[in-house]
Amino acid sequence: MESGIRERTPGLPRDIDGLSQRDRLLWSTVRVVAEKGYDGFTLGDIVARAGVSRTTFYDEFANKDECLFAAYDLVVDVLISFVTEAYRGDGPWPERVGAGLRALLEALAAEPEVAKMAAVEFPAAGPAAHQRYRDALERFLPFFAEGRKYASRSAELPPNVELMAVGGAEVIIFDEVVAGRVSRLPQMLPEILFAALVPFLGPDAAATEMQRLAPSAS
């Protein structure tokens, strides 16, 4: 929050010196996995980067997998905190959804390797990892609970309309990450916002919100 630049491009920590041993291990895991891939890294890579001993590692985690899952949760925690921060406020709900999405997309774009790991490679590691990914998606549902109040026919909306919204946005983000276009995500904010809002607002109102974010659209 100190400067405008910082505010617009929140990032994951790169300097881990001041952190606890556990957090140093977790962020080192994030970096090592992002660089070497889910299959290519070793415990030695993690402890070397964190600057801690193997003994310390085993004080904190039973094994590599436990550390990996905890690192995944930490990345999701941080992404959610960026979104929460941007979503906060008194503005109209669609605008706050847009602000939250912008924060998410900018954070992902700033870390293409982490984004790929979080959305594609880690979930492909097996059923437990894929479940973790879906759990992470569910953590975005509360941002849409307010949409029900905002919608004109709120009482009649389908029971899972929040999940439709998250799914509509997720599929676009996922496709871009798979295609190696993570850095373009912030430019796709209008389209992704449309997908997230349309189950609540319908196409006309969702398109209006979309155009609000697309300055060049005529």
Binding site: H130, P158, V161, V166, I172, V178, A195, P203, A207
Partner: protein
Amino acid sequence: MRSHSPRAPVRHFWERRSLQLPAFRGKIGEVKERGPAEPAARLPSGRHDIPHDVVIRSQRTRILNAMAEVTAENGYVATTVGQVVARAGVSSATFYKLFHDKEDCFLAAVREIIARATTVVGEAYSPQRRRPDPLRDVIRSLLVLFAKEPAYANLLFLQCRASTPRALDLYLSGARAMLSILGSGWADAVTEVSPGLAARAALGGAEALVRAEIAEGRAETLPDLLPQLLYCALVPFRGIDEALERSLEADAETMAGG
């Protein structure tokens, strides 16, 4: 200021000739059109008069079914060829006569379910069966298929994302075919948004609901999602009022056992 073209009159785009979709069939990955799945029952062993190609087809189908079941239980990564052949009741030699390796077999199982889904969609669009709401029929037919084949539903909606890049490509090619169905014919429905974007929003929302049900082990009750999925598919194109109305109609029909 944005300008509205007059909204297209409400009509059933799904009955248009252009939506009979000749281009759709056989376009997905390497999928070829097939008839209904072959019976997977075990044929008698030892000497018999059953033609050789029938034996091979039955073995192949049993192996594919076993692959779907075992991956649904353990996930693709932890699945071994040994588990698959044990479940299928065939020898490893038979497996390797039909498939190069685990991934080859897995991809064949993915193609199998995509081919069946393609057949089901084609039937729902059949010009011989003109119905009031073909979109509803398409969604219902797919849900019934996946409910009948929970292991294959798991394979398609969960394992494809949690296995290999080639499986993901197959899944995405199937998804693109669904997108072209959803997006075609809607060009004049919403003036501000491209049909491609609206279709992606519709499909992404629907996939999330289906995936959640399957992950919770509720594939058998997927047809209950029909009203919600119809809403999801319609709302980006037709707006909330029509999406709700047709969703409620589907709900009433489901309750009436139709």
